[in-house]
């Protein structure tokens, strides 16, 4: 009888452990107001991201293979005579200009980091497409030959646009966030680029004044290529 009583006490304790756990858990859940997605949705999203990432790597690999193949065809075709070789050189140069190949060279890196909104509570705003276009124009005016924003190459058909009330900015249909650090790379005459950016007032356009802006000339920069196909649905050569 005594032993039985003892056992019962343990069971009682266990029951109260359960009760305490449930209450504390629920309390903790309610303290966490940021959570909006259900666990299932989050898992689904993670899964989707993983799948898309895999798909992307596979496609990039595929793309690389095909590019290599194309190159070998071109080399084979151009090795036969001088005219073809000239054509090949011309083609490579066009690709370089269009941003279809990875490039390297001296240039400038520019980092834009938002400051704490509390520092300017009345006037603070995040940067939009306008500021980025402005910076690109400044850099191009200073002779930049290749530019990328957060590793997204600015090519001849690149558009930049704020979306969803400026919660993100689309570059080449990919999102970047104005709430996080933005890195801009430009290849060109690094001193010229540097002086263009360092010019008094050059980097205080609109919301740029609320950003911590750092720039640095670099001897060798790497900028990856434009990874989307160009569209030519409407243009044709006029003769």
């Amino acid at each position: 009888m005594k032993k039985n009583n003892r056992n019962m006490q343990w069971v009682l304790a266990l029951v109260f452990v359960l009760l305490g756990f449930l209450m504390a858990y629920q309390y903790k859940q309610l303290q966490d107001p940021v959570k909006k997605l259900t666990v299932q949705e989050t898992e689904d999203l993670f899964h989707e991201i993983e799948m898309l990432k895999e798909e992307k790597t596979a496609l990039i690999e595929n793309n690389n293979e095909l590019t290599e193949e194309l190159k070998s065809y071109e080399i084979a075709a151009s090795s036969s005579n001088e005219a073809n070789q000239l054509l090949k050189t011309e083609l490579d140069h066009s690709r370089l200009l269009l941003g279809l190949v990875d490039v390297k060279g001296p240039g400038l890196t520019l980092s834009l980091k938002p400051t704490d909104p509390l520092l300017n509570p009345q006037t603070f705003s995040y940067l939009t497409d306008l500021e980025l276009v402005y910076i690109i124009n400044e850099l191009k005016f200073a002779g930049a030959e290749a530019i990328s924003i957060n590793e997204k190459r600015i090519a001849i058909q690149t558009g930049i646009k704020s979306s969803s009330n400026n919660s993100y900015i689309l570059i080449n249909d990919e999102k970047i966030s104005p709430r996080e650090e933005i890195i801009i790379k430009a290849i060109g005459d690094k001193n010229k680029l540097n002086s263009a950016v360092a010019f008094q007032g050059a980097m205080s356009y609109n919301a740029l004044e609320f950003y911590d802006i750092r720039f640095q000339p670099v001897d060798e920069l790497f900028i990856n290529r434009y990874e989307k196909p160009f569209s030519t649905s409407f243009i044709e050569e006029a003769r």
Binding site: M8, Q9, W10, V11, L12, A13, L14, V15, F16, V17, L18, L19, G20, F21, L22, M23, A24, Y25, Q26, Y27, K28, Q29, K35, T38, V39, Q40
Partner: protein, 119 residues
């Protein structure tokens, strides 16, 4: 005593253990908590009235919780907010239990006084 220790361990576990119960089950969890609280108060009442029985308490603790959760689940499936019924019934019972506990405690207090006086 052992009950208090158990409760404390449970609260600590709940606060610091990183278990994830899917948000979709929040209603079930709250209903379960409510029924468990009711059972605990019922047990306290029985203890003060000297009719406490472990088996009754434990079977009530789990049984009520399971039935309430099952009803809530059924309500979810039928688009009927059955959890309201559970909240009303068990909420009412908690107040009832409190009333009885209060009376028992007051009785005990007066009885103690009377005994003191007799001695």
């Amino acid at each position: 005593m052992i009950v208090m220790i158990g409760l404390l361990i449970g609260i600590l576990l709940g606060l610091f253990l990183d278990v994830k119960i899917p948000d979709a089950y929040t209603t079930y969890l709250t209903i379960a908590i409510l029924t468990c609280l009711d059972s605990v108060l019922g047990a306290l009442k029985a203890y003060l009235g000297r009719t406490f029985d472990n088996i009754v308490f434990i079977s009530g603790f789990f049984g009520n919780a399971i039935i309430a959760v099952a009803l809530t689940f059924l309500g979810d499936k039928l688009g009927l907010p059955m959890y309201l019924a559970a909240v009303v019934v068990f909420g009412g019972r908690i107040f009832n239990n409190f009333a009885v506990i209060r009376r028992l405690l007051i009785d005990k207090y007066y009885k103690g006084k009377r005994n003191d006086a007799l001695e």
